[in-house]
Symmetry: C2
Subunit: 210 residues, 2 copies
């Protein structure tokens, strides 16, 4: 099947399956089922089987899924069985939290360059990295072949940064800035907006609902 | 229609529609279409019309949607036309970034209580709030009738905090901790995991794909 024919919503669920399998493996579990995976994620087992069937046969009727095998398959499909270099733009609170976040390296990503526009921050070292001037973004990203970036700047600066990333050849952006980015369709964008997360739950919380 | 019969995936898209409508309204736009909304969000116009049809008729064939009207309707459906008190647990980098985030108040939420376990932080003021000892979490949340919480503590502490929130009567948790929480099905949980966001895009980035 042409990879572009698989619905995007299916692709977006695969990282959730992968995360759950990784946690199960960490806990020493070796086999799981679509029922168990679904129960942990709030997704029906039918949906999980249907999603996985786009990519092949991963489980056996009655015996379930071998966790290590399925984890490896999903890593391959999502292409996180290789390390991706990621640029981080904005070394404020969110940026610092991300640099301290230990979950990137063993899940397919490596923060390879960090940028800020604040002269007080440029040149400072944060862990193994030196904060670079955002004015050098284009050159550094091009030279190092970086294809992904995380935007952690204020909302009013996010579009300018996104435009610069587009020009430098970045193909996918994860943004924490609470603003919609205007970018051509070939640029992948993923939003981490806490309000969207909260608003998707209030629907179920009303005292007037059963 | 019974509100619980509407697929959860539909409910999860409504905040994205609402955010886009809010941005359009901020920019002075008054009317939009399912095509335009879809184009901005990477969702098909058919999907948008189908999602909205669960809740009624919001647009007219040929004239599109009145942005202020549809925004008001979605706020009502999602119940963010009233303020929800939210507790924040963990006043580290992520917690500080959230406290500085200005997008909560006018979108239905108010950070009403902040907690940490670090004696160095307890009692300190951050903006209008005083950091409370996490040992008082149960009592404060009960007394103030708080139903929602954001977890911004390290992964190893997240389950303990989640259990305490459950016991205190919280019904929905947004968590930044990179670990799967084990909670009963009636507790709503939303994960903000940067790796899941990145992994949902690498699929499309391969140099071997067209």
């Amino acid at each position: 099947m042409n990879p572009l024919e698989i619905p995007e919503i299916v692709i977006k669920r695969l990282p959730l399956y992968l995360r759950t399998l990784e946690l199960m493996a960490d806990e020493g579990q070796t086999v799981t089922s679509s029922q168990e995976l679904g129960g942990r994620l709030g997704i029906s087992s039918t949906q999980i089987r249907k999603d996985l069937s786009y990519f092949g046969e991963f489980g056996k009727q009655g015996t379930g899924y071998d966790i290590r095998f399925l984890r490896g398959q999903l890593r391959g499909i999502l292409q996180v069985d290789r390390p991706w270099k990621v640029a981080l733009i904005g070394v404020g609170d969110v940026g610092h939290a991300l640099l301290r976040f230990i979950g990137f390296e063993d899940r397919g990503f490596s923060i390879a360059a960090i940028f800020d526009k604040d002269p007080q921050k440029v040149g400072r070292r944060v862990d193994k990295l030196t904060v670079l001037d955002v004015a050098t973004l284009h050159e550094v990203i091009r030279r190092r072949g970086i294809r992904m970036a995380i935007i952690a700047v204020p909302a009013c600066e996010a579009q300018g940064v996104a435009d610069a990333l587009l020009g430098a050849g970045v193909g996918a952006i994860l943004t924490y800035a609470p603003t919609l980015l205007r970018l051509p369709p070939h640029m992948r964008v993923s939003y981490l907006d806490p309000v969207v997360g909260l608003q998707s739950m209030t629907y179920y919380l009303s005292p007037s609902r059963p």
